[in-house]
Subunit: 145 residues, 2 copies
Amino acid sequence: MKPIGVIHSPFTQKDQTPIQASRSPAVGQVEVYPEFAEGLQDLEELSHIILLYVFHCSSGYHLRGRPFLDGHLRGLFATRYPCRPNPLGLSVVRLLERRGNILEIQGVDVLDGTPLLDIKPYVPDFDVRSEVRTGWYARRSQAGN
Amino acid sequence: MKPIGVIHSPFTQKDQTPIQASRSPAVGQVEVYPEFAEGLQDLEELSHIILLYVFHCSSGYHLRGRPFLDGHLRGLFATRYPCRPNPLGLSVVRLLERRGNILEIQGVDVLDGTPLLDIKPYVPDFDVRSEVRTGWYARRSQAGN
């Protein structure tokens, strides 16, 4: 795995970084390295893209932990906690504009300088499911926390 | 990056593997290696999970290519084509059952033996967007192809 670019964001401190892209109004830039720019063709027609990146400031992991949004010990893979055996992050962001190899995005929830591994189109036919149960997350939401 | 498990599927040939998880009724198993099993706690409450894995049978890439679902040359990052600079795959699958470190899943669209890198909960609050434009994919769908 080798970065194809870097994500520029307004966030330089972990504790000031939004917890999820869907909760963030922040604007940032994806800088795709010039040698990969040709692969961005057609992207400008999409309103949303999926970013796969490295949680580069996370180190080590525990298989059970307390998510930011919950106070209970949960299995790591039932959470989006950034410290993972493979520190891979995933965010769906709005694509505002493409200028050559620079993507202006909204909904940034990563630290400035995050190494980018892949970009995929966000396609509801592929990525959206209905009748979803979300376990602890739903109970937490219902409790109004 | 080091696999945390392996995905068992009915598919041993690329050309017989479904193109997307959302189009696949196939059942398979995620075998999470025992040393990571503790991290699966609470997963059984979820109806859907996100699998991140390696396209282990892809080799090399072209920055422009013709997607399976389209006949035109497209920028690689505007497609879900498996041959990518970092061969990372992403599928949302239904979790039918957890038996210890084995997850019975439905919606399998990967080759048997696919190395698993991460599991994340699928949470509509995080992962679903509305008012989405999908560019070439939408035009293709409207054309009834």
